[in-house]
């Protein structure tokens, strides 16, 4: 079909970040199709230079408001790796609770507030407040509040945690608070399953699209990995040598983007909830599996739109896992511990964990005074950029005969499905059809 498309849509919304989609279609042929990142570069790696070992967490937390707990934990793990700091079993459990809380907060924000309106053909969730579907909105709000309540309890604040420090915590929740959290989590689990049912029954679901690609994330023999694990790939398997992650991941510069891109065995790969699901689905909790089954999500699934469903399944998993973790805290008796001792020394440390949007790596080199001389952060969204580009290149020819509004919406929804991170990468999404 010979078709020219000339649309210019500004300020496409409900995506975290400044990015552009440029599509130039002449006589049915794609002249230009680019996923551009126009976010002002913030130079965090440079900002860390010269800063003290105990300031690094607090600075890198500010890379992202949504995944500040994840950045804090990757940062602490890297610094602790460099200084050989041991953490206690209790700290280990509390950090896992923190990472669960953040994953829940971020996932429900994305699935409930950002992606959900597309399924109901709305511009935002606000109109739901005065509609017959108000109940669904209240479920989303309840689940969002639950996740924030949990972050507050464990970290002292929902955004930019205060209590997470080198070797431990400045303060910890009381038994009474944890008992209340348990009650809320149990009620939240029911709500999650109800919300999943609502999405299944009341919407048409997500587009049917498929592109084979590589999925990368952490895996652990013990559990569905978030806080700890080995780098794993659906193409090449486990990679144990975490300190040489840069032998595994190749980050590279592209002119249309202020965010670096990344590749491994193919020209692109995906990280995030769907990647974790594809690698570790057998270790999901029962409720997590129940949500996945409801939408026929099975590993390996090559539809990036299903990332939304993988997020919802992870939300249910995080709740069940948190309930187990709290019981373990009770079994061990909660103690007022001093944070781990350490001596300042020269060295390099690497910290890796799974944050809502995928595998996050912090890498610091410290000098003999404990000041940072070199830093590198590998951000999940940056690892996804090349994959988004490749998906677009496959998707556009498949929907080229559709009305232009439909093409536009599908491209937006594709980008949204990846849940690109507000500040790790983008600020504004301009879909530009030149």
């Amino acid at each position: 079909m010979s078709k020219n498309i000339d649309i210019n849509v500004h300020h496409v919304t409900r995506v975290e970040g400044h990015g552009n989609i440029v599509l130039d279609l002449k006589k049915g042929k794609i002249k230009k199709l680019e996923w551009q990142i126009s976010e002002a570069p913030r130079f965090f790696e440079a900002m860390l230079c010269g800063r003290k070992h105990d300031e690094l967490r607090s600075i890198t937390s500010r890379i992202c408001g949504i995944c500040s707990i994840g950045h804090s934990l990757a940062s602490l793990k890297a610094t602790e790796d460099a200084l050989n700091v041991e953490i206690s079993e209790q700290t280990n459990i509390l950090r896992r609770l923190a990472i669960n809380a953040e994953n829940m907060q971020s996932h429900i924000l994305h699935v409930g507030y950002l992606a959900f309106p597309d399924l109901l053909k709305l511009g935002s969730v606000f109109p739901l407040a005065n509609s017959k579907n108000k109940d669904a909105l209240l479920k989303v709000v309840k689940l969002h509040r639950l996740a924030n309540f949990m972050s507050d309890l464990v970290c002292g604040r929902t955004t930019h945690p205060i209590r997470l420090i080198l070797g431990g915590f400045t303060m910890i929740p009381t038994k009474k608070q944890l008992l209340e959290l348990k009650k809320e989590l149990k009620s939240g689990l029911e709500t999650t399953l109800e919300l999943a049912q609502f999405i299944k029954n009341k919407t048409d679901g997500f587009p049917d699209f498929k592109r084979e690609t590589e999925y990368i994330g952490l895996s652990s023999k013990k559990e569905y990995a978030f806080y700890d694990g080995d780098i794993n790939s659906t193409d090449t398997g486990i990679f144990k040598d975490y300190k040489n992650y840069n032998k595994f991941i190749n980050e590279y510069f592209v002119p249309q983007s202020t965010a670096l891109h990344a590749k491994h065995s193919r020209e692109s790969y995906m990280v995030g909830a769907l990647a974790r699901f594809n690698l570790n689905s057998k270790q999901l909790s029962n409720a997590g599996k129940e949500v996945a089954n409801l939408f026929n999500l099975r590993a390996i699934n090559y539809n990036p739109f299903m990332n939304n469903i993988a997020q919802l399944a992870e939300y249910a998993h995080n709740i069940e896992n948190s309930l187990e973790l709290i019981d373990r805290l009770f079994d061990n008796k909660i103690k007022d511990e001093k944070s781990g001792d350490f001596k300042i020394k020269e060295g390099r440390g690497v910290g890796i964990c799974e944050v809502p949007r995928g595998m996050l790596i912090h890498d610091y080199t410290l000098n003999s005074k404990g000041r940072c001389t070199k830093a590198n952060c590998v951000i999940p969204t940056n690892q996804n950029h090349a994959n988004i580009q490749k998906d677009m290149e496959k998707l556009v020819p498949e929907i080229i005969d559709n009305p232009k509004k439909d093409i536009e919406l599908n491209l937006e929804m594709l980008v949204r499905a990846y849940d690109p991170c507000i500040s790790c990468s983008t600020h504004y999404l301009d879909v530009k059809f030149v």
Binding site: F43, S58, S124, N148
Partner: protein, 261 residues
């Protein structure tokens, strides 16, 4: 008529806008008194007609300055939201070095010439580009303070922003002074309004709400002496949120940030 409010974001972590989403059901109360006409993070609808512009983030590039001036020309009242907007925040840490050096650190030898996305200047707070009417401080902002400021503006009242040190709120919370616990806290010179949230959770104040317009220099000197701390250490701590706030020629004096203080 309800005032029309629009939200905009520049270089930041967008954590301050997130605090608005974190109001949960209370957002619905807020939209009873104001009309949200633009809020990219959560809604598709957008309008260029607004009374109050709420701006998050620091200003880094000529293209961003241009966009900010346009926003200023369209609104009656401009509110700076969060540390990146009010004082430049952590984004100013890099202002210690020339831009070219910083670029090299992150992007190595990539060719960035003629690429407008990379046309970066030193980090600026919003009031270094356009006049700002009101400030909602913090990293991140305090949700209750946000509600208070927006409600005041909607009712045509002057919002009150504290201009006394974090120590006042910290004492009220009955915390043990962090200096006594061997930590270095910027509470004595930092603007309150956060409810001393960091010290109350066992963390030292980093000064994210900005240095007081008239900090008690004598008291600070006394503190440094009493706890055997150095002025250099204090300057280094202030770099986190308040790069450039010390007058380099004048020793223990602070550069005033705004004319109206």
């Amino acid at each position: 008529m309800k005032p029309k409010v629009a939200f905009f974001d520049f270089s930041s972590c967008e954590g301050c806008q997130l605090q608005i989403a974190n109001l949960e059901e209370e957002i619905l109360d807020l939209i009873e008194i104001v009309d949200v006409v633009s809020f990219r993070e959560v809604m598709k609808e957008h309008s260029d007609e607004y009374d109050i512009a709420v701006v998050e983030g620091s200003i880094m590039r000529p293209m961003d300055e241009h966009r900010l001036r346009k926003i200023r020309s369209r609104c009656k009242t401009l509110v700076a939201l969060g540390a990146c907007a009010t004082i430049g925040g952590v984004n100013k840490i890099r202002n210690q070095w020339p831009v070219e050096e910083v670029k090299k650190e992150v992007y190595n030898d990539a060719d960035l010439k003629d690429n407008k996305f990379f046309n970066v200047s030193q980090t600026k707070a919003v009031n270094e580009v356009v006049p700002v009417d009101y400030y909602i401080h913090g990293c991140p902002i305090n949700r209750d303070e946000f509600k208070r400021v927006i409600t005041s503006l909607a009712l045509g009242k002057e919002p009150v922003i504290p201009n006394y040190p974090v120590c006042v709120e910290c004492k009220k919370n009955e915390n043990v002074c962090l200096f006594e616990l061997g930590k270095f806290c910027l509470g004595p010179i930092t603007r309150a309004g956060c409810g001393a949230i960091c010290p109350s959770n066992g963390g030292a104040c980093d000064g994210c709400r900005g240095i007081l317009s008239k900090p008690d220099v004598e008291c600070v000197m006394d503190l440094l002496k009493r706890y055997d701390l150095t002025y250099e250490e204090m300057k280094s701590r202030c770099v986190l949120y308040n790069t450039g706030v010390f007058n380099p020629k004048d020793g223990m004096t602070f550069v005033r940030r705004r004319k109206n203080e």
